[in-house]
Symmetry: C2
């Protein structure tokens, strides 16, 4: 029997994602990448991290290099508890917090702990690709809730749910309500409240995935986790507010859920990187986090505004795009006859990369959309990349 | 609907493991722990790590703090490729290596990539608890191969396989062939060769989990990965030869398998901690690894010999135990009337902890066995803990 005959159904179905292939493309040659979702390494708080790493390895190497409990470093959970409370979220103790290996691991845990094959989940369309991939490993049925300029359209979702005759148990709604990946859209306060109502009416939980709200300009709507405690599972990450290389995230959920997630996490990696937990803890305890966030906001605002200006100057008539208050992405929509999957090779040969919107549409829709990242490229690259992208789109459109 | 009704079958079945509860016990009060499997933090290469961390954060912070590819840091994969080749293992390129978040993640990947519910796997009895837990998430059928002083009894396994009339597809054999956790036993070269023959005859792959061989005294039998390339999946970890807090492991498998594991790993945590990968890479590139291993061997030998002497002095007649060449564990067998699960609370109240052998027996056998860790406690604690353990066993035996 050949080796490939040994693969599980899950493995046979697993395919490399566009973004993953993009990450390889980026590393090769003179390509300006609007794909991927990496922070700007020039903005990493290197001095603070270097000092803290030295201190931690000086003062408590035995603890910082040893296994940690699966739940995570006590002091870090305490810092996160205080942080979430200060942000107005509903959480009653640090026991509701589980440190995860990036928020990606939290997504994997949600799928494994909550989904049996055939269970139903509700996703936004478009939705975060890596969440979709993680949840799909459990073979769920997927309900797609539409989005518009107000974010997730809770009214349309209510109609879908009311119209739903039968169907399997709805386990959760997954949403990135603030500066969403990929669309950049933010769901309004009114709609967030209606989502909580729906969770109680239909008996599901809401997963609030929140990597971006801390970097958003101006005033965000309240966290969904600020509107309710029990039925909201909150997850966030240090990838955008410290360093993605730490693979450090956390989730907050009612203790029943959090403790079950911890038991399952044991089989995934026993515990999360201890040194990174100590560094992140000191980064918060020393008051660096809020200062760093204030440093990041204007830097990313400049890049976002540069991208918006560059798109305005280079995109052809008939193209539209979102104007996010934060996050790392702008969502562009081209005339319906465009196919951004087919156009990608031309863009790459013109020296610019993006992620085709179809990747974020479980329905296969969104062929004429694309996700544009502005956090990673320099301002010069943003202008030159937008020029190349505009050129590609015009050439592609003419050839249609 | 209550929150708990949302749990998946997997989550409902997931229970906290004895070892996990032990880790909590350790942290409380004056208990000498022979449970767990932690290295001695006094032996961590702190100076080397501190220097390397400072250099890496000085010289390439942008790379060391950024996302890495899912496959892992190129230079680390190159170092591991050279290392495995120098150890005589059959591996043809660094593309066959995937960096994992501890070898626990490799175990999780094996289960997910290779097992559909009802598939058959072969485990040693006793077997590594965290592997059993990870594989069980895929609901496999389990064949148990007996062990004796020569390690996994390949002859007995052959008879089991020949006698097997029907049954589902056998996907893999999982073994820790050198200084096994929990038994401390090492499988002989002759038996390793027969296992490879069986893999080809019956069409399964062999997973060689190897956390301990590098710390073993004297000459180990050849790696199973040295006897064959295609059908052997090798996995190891930096937890015992650098620092467990880094959650850094690797696997080596034919490229078909390795690339599939990488695609699945994407959904687990996108990539492994980048800073730890850079530190481990420098630790190897600067030649620290082999020097450190030579420093560790005599230190653990002293502890192992102390534990063997202390057991000889304190264990009652009728008790027996293994005499490993390395690893971190000694396996003790008490007279058949003993139940080490029932005895554990008494041991803990006497100030000593161990892991009951039944945890490592999927069959529920092994009630009269226990796993004793000697790597974590100090030599003084080893002697005092063995005294407390001997006292507990004698008292328990008298009360039977």
């Amino acid at each position: 029997m050949s080796i490939k005959d040994l693969f599980s159904k899950m493995a046979q179905e697993a395919k490399a994602s566009e973004i993953r292939e993009m990450l390889k493309v980026i590393k090769s040659g003179d390509i300006i990448s609007f794909a991927g979702g990496m922070p700007d390494p020039a903005l990493f708080p290197v001095e603070e991290i270097r000092q803290i790493a030295a201190d931690v390895l000086e003062q408590r190497p035995g603890a910082a290099l040893q296994y940690e409990t699966t739940e995570g470093y006590e002091r870090l959970r305490e810092e996160l508890f205080k942080f979430m409370r200060s942000e107005g979220m509903q959480i009653s103790s640090k026991e509701e917090i589980l440190i995860t290996t990036g928020s990606q691991q939290a997504l994997d845990l949600f799928g494994r702990a909550l989904l049996d094959p055939g269970d139903t989940i509700i996703l936004e369309e478009p939705t975060y690709l890596a969440a979709l991939t993680a949840f799909r490993m459990q073979s769920p049925r997927i309900l797609l809730a539409p989005m518009d300029s107000g974010g997730l359209d809770s009214g349309a979702l209510r109609k879908m749910l009311e119209g739903r005759r039968s169907g399997s148990k709805i386990k959760f709604l997954y949403t990135v309500p603030t500066c969403q990946n990929p669309s950049g859209l933010t769901t309004t306060e009114e709609r967030r409240k209606e989502l909580v109502d729906l969770a109680y009416e239909y008996g599901f939980v809401i997963i609030e995935d929140d990597p971006y709200s801390y970097l958003s300009d101006g005033k965000n709507p309240p966290f969904i986790k600020a509107l309710d405690d029990e039925r909201i599972i909150y997850t966030s990450t240090f990838s955008k507010i410290l360093a993605p290389g730490f693979r450090l995230g956390w989730l907050a959920a009612s203790e029943d859920l959090a403790s079950k997630f911890a038991i399952l996490k044991q089989s995934l990696d026993l515990c999360t990187n201890t040194l990174s937990q100590h560094i992140a803890c000191e980064f918060m305890a020393r008051g660096h986090l809020n200062k760093y966030i204030e440093r990041l906001k204007p830097a990313y605002r400049r890049k976002r505004e540069a991208m918006l200006d560059a798109l305005a100057e280079n995109m052809p008539d008939g193209a539209g795009w979102t104007r996010p208050t934060g996050g790392m992405f702008i969502w562009a929509t081209l005339p319906p006859e465009f196919d951004t999957d087919k156009m990608l090779p031309e863009a790459v040969s013109n020296g610019v990369a993006y992620v085709p919107g179809s990747s974020f549409h479980p329905s296969g829709r969104g062929k004429n959309t694309m996700r544009i990242n502005y956090s990673y490229p320099s301002i010069e690259q943003i202008w030159e990349g937008a020029r190349r992208l505009g050129h590609t789109i015009k050439a592609y459109g003419t050839a249609l």
